[in-house]
């Protein structure tokens, strides 16, 4: 054993940590200097035009590109970006090109918190366009509003986006409750007398949908309510027990508030036990191309699109398969050119139309683009935006939802044909359901080329 030298009261290695702290500080410093210029200083109203120059608009968003929520959802933001690229190729908006940064939060709110700060504090985005998810965006909504960053068209049907405390936040798709009401009314009017069963995801999505169904479907007709949790483990176990319970309860109509994977599992479980109820599926889990792929991969090719025949769902965007709809034709062309290889399905349609709706807002905000101009444009002109959808936008200073309604449709030919069963309907969370006389809009003649 060595003895410490008398002038060293303390073993040498005790100084190691001091150096380590300094080294660590340098690493942090180096990391920070390499991560580029810092963006806005926070919270000041003077930041109204952050991310806007005479030639560019910086936008960003968070969305799952990897992880369990990614399949399908990872098409949405790139499809919106494809529309922005199309606009850029045609001169941009008021000569400004749109630059859209898409960050992968894996549907994990902790990542959303960090990545959103990266976009706002470091990259200095003008607006967060199309962030996906309820818990993820909830995690950052107050931060975004405190920074005054418009959070435009959150990709979630939560009832929570029309919130006076979140003045810069807007929804886009119909709240799940509204859709539940419309599907529920159809069941009561056209499938009356049949026993009804529910299978829904045991979270806000499913529960909000059931809130809407419960407003329209008499409780005495509902014979069974089954739930599942959207964890990979729960889905791997299948939905056999829930489907058996629905069959035993004698449900002739089964309403699914399910994500696509769960819709496919439910249909396969029913097919396995020879159970063929009338399916009524939330639009969230009823995209035919997605379901066809899932049905065939889950059943290893034994089942497929045929299971979709007759299924009832709701739609607020034009039918994917409608080759006569000039919007659909144009958007397909845009997607093929600017996001080559992306499939044309419900997710990419959603993304490309959401991108279109954002460009509408930019145009309405005018040449002197500021954050408050954007918010006011949506509040005051949003209801009259050019709108490829089936129902009008309900944007107003007191209403930050986008679509509130849709039509009930039925899938035939394995989802190749989508037939409307009802007129186009609009509603609110607690109001009546009414037909809309809003005329469908048409795009410019050369749209998409």
């Amino acid at each position: 054993m060595r003895q410490p030298r008398p002038d060293r009261a303390m073993p040498r290695w005790h100084r190691g940590p001091v150096v380590a702290v300094c080294a660590m500080a340098m690493v942090v410093g180096a990391c920070s200097s390499s991560s580029g210029s810092s963006g806005s200083s926070t919270g000041a109203p003077a930041n109204n035009a952050v991310g806007v120059t005479s030639s560019a608009i910086e936008l960003g968003t968070t969305t799952p590109l990897t992880g369990p929520a990614a399949p399908g959802y990872d098409e949405i933001a790139p499809a919106a970006d494809a529309y922005f690229k199309y606009v850029n190729a045609h001169g941009g908006v008021f000569d400004r090109k749109i630059d859209y940064t898409i960050l992968d939060d894996q549907y994990n709110p902790a990542s959303t918190a960090t990545l959103t700060r990266q976009l706002v504090l470091q990259d200095g985005i003008f607006a967060d366009v199309g962030p996906l998810g309820t818990p993820t965006v909830e995690q950052v909504s107050s931060f975004l509003n405190s920074e005054g960053v418009p959070t435009v068209y959150v990709e979630s049907g939560c009832n929570c986006w029309n919130n006076p405390n979140l003045p810069d936040t807007f929804g886009w798709q119909p709240p799940y409750t509204d859709e539940g009401k419309i599907l529920g009314q159809y069941i009561t009017q056209h499938l009356s007398g049949d026993k009804v069963g529910y299978l829904y995801q045991d979270d806000e999505f499913g529960q909000d949908g059931v809130k809407g169904l419960d407003q329209e479907v008499s409780a005495s007709n509902v014979v069974s309510q089954q739930t599942y949790t959207a964890t990979p483990q729960a889905l791997a176990a299948g939905l056999g027990s829930q489907i058996s319970a629905l069959k035993q309860a004698g449900a002739k109509v089964v309403v699914l508030y399910t994500i696509p994977a769960a819709t496919a599992l439910a249909m396969l479980a029913a097919a396995t036990i020879g159970y063929a109820p009338q399916w009524v599926i939330s639009s969230v889990g009823a995209d035919p191309p997605t379901l066809t792929g899932l049905l065939s991969s889950f059943s290893k090719g034994a089942a497929g699109a045929a299971l979709l025949n007759g299924a009832i769902t709701a739609a607020y965007l034009p039918p994917l398969t409608d080759a006569t709809d000039p919007w659909v034709v144009g958007f397909k062309k845009i997607l093929a050119q600017y996001d080559p290889g992306a499939p044309w399905d419900g997710n990419s349609e959603y993304g490309v139309i959401l991108g279109y709706t954002f460009v509408q807002a930019l145009q309405a905000a005018g040449k002197n683009l500021t954050r408050s101009a954007l918010v006011q444009a949506i509040e005051h002109h949003g209801a009259s935006f050019d709108n490829p959808g089936l129902v009008p936008f309900t944007f107003s200073p007191t209403n930050h939802y986008g679509y509130q309604g849709g039509e009930v449709t039925q899938l035939e030919d394995g989802g190749q044909t989508i037939n409307a069963l009802t007129p186009r309907l609009v509603t609110t969370l607690n109001g009546p359901i009414t037909e809309t006389t809003w005329p469908l809009s048409t795009p410019p003649a050369d749209f998409g080329s």
């Binding site: 060595r2 002038d7 060293r8 009261a9 303390m10 040498r12 290695w13 005790h14 100084r15 190691g16 940590p17 001091v18 380590a20 702290v21 300094c22 080294a23 660590m24 500080a25 690493v27 942090v28 410093g29 990391c31 920070s32 810092s38 963006g39 806005s40 926070t42 919270g43 590109l65 990897t66 990614a70 990872d74 933001a77 790139p78 898409i102 960050l103 992968d104 549907y107 994990n108 709110p109 902790a110 918190a113 960090t114 700060r117 990266q118 504090l121 470091q122 309820t134 818990p135 993820t136 909830e138 950052v140 909504s141 107050s142 931060f143 405190s146 939560c158 979270d203 806000e204 290889g341």
Partner: protein, 360 residues
């Protein structure tokens, strides 16, 4: 250099180190932009959570896959107090720590009877199960939407993000000083004695089960502080943020930084915060399609973790301590002695283990 000497007395030494660290961090946070301030705050939060874990696993020998669950307890504890009461932030954070420590003691009771894989299984179950509680009792905990925690209002002229980061760092340094002292105290010696040989510890008069429960509570207290700070700095507490993945990544951070080394917690935290970002920017630079590049980022992240483990099996801090000892040895050559002293060989550092574990 020869005159740079730290006090021998642990409390004093830890205070001097914390003060030095605080000065460095003050300088760095004042020099960078708000996003970097946020990141440094996240590093501090991860570091205190990892420090708690390293005390439990490294010092006391109990493996926990459930550190994320205690972070969640602290986040909800402090978050609910901040939302529903007008308590000052420091008190809310403190109570969050107390609540989390109590939860840790409660979980520690059954855990003290379990060993190895069974303990890992139990803590894993905790990490999986606990996030379901706020969803189940949505009326109390706000369900999946969780809680919105309002950020503190900074004094005039100070950037709100920087202010938040300072609050985080002060709390973290205080906790680390306390942890460092604990490790060097009678409790810390008991933790290590129980880790090394329970029978011997019992014969020496150490209450083994009691010690294991205490370690759990202390570890949970650190996690609870991390949770309270996380809610404060992100502005919200949602159950999905406390997934199993969080617990696992903290475990990875602990191993990468150096198991059992409080200072290593900082390295682990730096890796957890910066490497995913770095790998995302590297893969983005390759010009691939969105989906491909984000999957590639995960691959890069994994590769970095593997490389670090291969290069530094005793963690970054372990490697640094070893390198430092080589450097200092070379600078003071001894008559007849080589650069490597068998007593100081990297594999057998148990001799200085005790002191090195302390907060540096």
């Amino acid at each position: 250099m020869r005159h740079l000497r730290l006090p021998r007395q642990p409390m004093l030494r830890h205070l001097v180190l914390a003060l030095g660290g605080a000065l460095v961090l003050f300088a760095v946070t004042s020099a960078v932009g708000p996003y970097d301030d946020y990141q440094i705050g996240q590093i501090g939060i991860d570091a205190v959570a990892i420090a708690g874990l390293t005390l439990l696993t490294g010092t006391n020998g109990q493996i926990s896959l459930g550190q994320g669950a205690f972070i969640m307890v602290g986040a909800y504890g402090a978050g609910m107090l901040l939302v529903h009461t007008k308590l000052p932030i420091a008190l809310a954070l403190l109570l969050g720590v107390v609540i989390s420590a109590a939860a840790g003691a409660l979980i520690g009771l059954p855990a003290s009877r379990l060993r190895g894989p069974y303990l890992a299984g139990m803590t894993l179950a905790l990490a999986v199960g606990l996030p379901a509680i706020p969803v189940e009792f949505a009326g109390v905990f706000g369900g999946e939407q969780g809680l919105n925690v309002n950020p503190p209002v900074p004094p005039a002229g100070i950037d709100p993000q920087r202010w938040l980061t300072w609050i985080v760092l002060v709390a973290v340094l205080v906790m680390l000083v306390l942890l460092g002292n604990l490790v060097r105290s009678r409790f810390g010696r008991a933790f290590r004695a129980v880790r090394d040989d329970e029978v011997a510890a019992a014969i020496s008069g150490i209450a083994v089960a009691h010690t294991r429960v205490t370690a759990f509570a202390v570890s949970a207290a650190a996690a609870g502080l991390a949770g309270g700070l996380l809610g404060l700095s992100t502005g919200g507490v949602v159950p999905d943020a406390f997934s199993v993945g969080l617990s696992i990544s903290l475990l990875a951070g602990m191993v990468l930084g150096g198991t059992g080394r409080v200072l290593g917690a900082w390295w682990g935290a730096v890796i957890l915060v910066y490497v995913p970002q770095w790998s995302a920017s590297v893969s983005d630079g390759l010009g691939l399609r969105q989906g491909q590049s984000s999957n590639l980022a995960l691959l890069f992240y994994g590769l970095v973790l593997i490389v670090v483990i291969l290069v530094a099996p005793d963690g970054i801090q372990g490697r640094l301590v070893h390198l430092w000892s080589l450097v200092t040895r070379r600078s003071t050559p001894r008559p007849g002695g080589g650069a490597v002293d068998p007593d100081r060989a990297p594999a057998s550092h148990s001799e200085d283990h005790e002191t090195r574990e302390a907060l540096a």
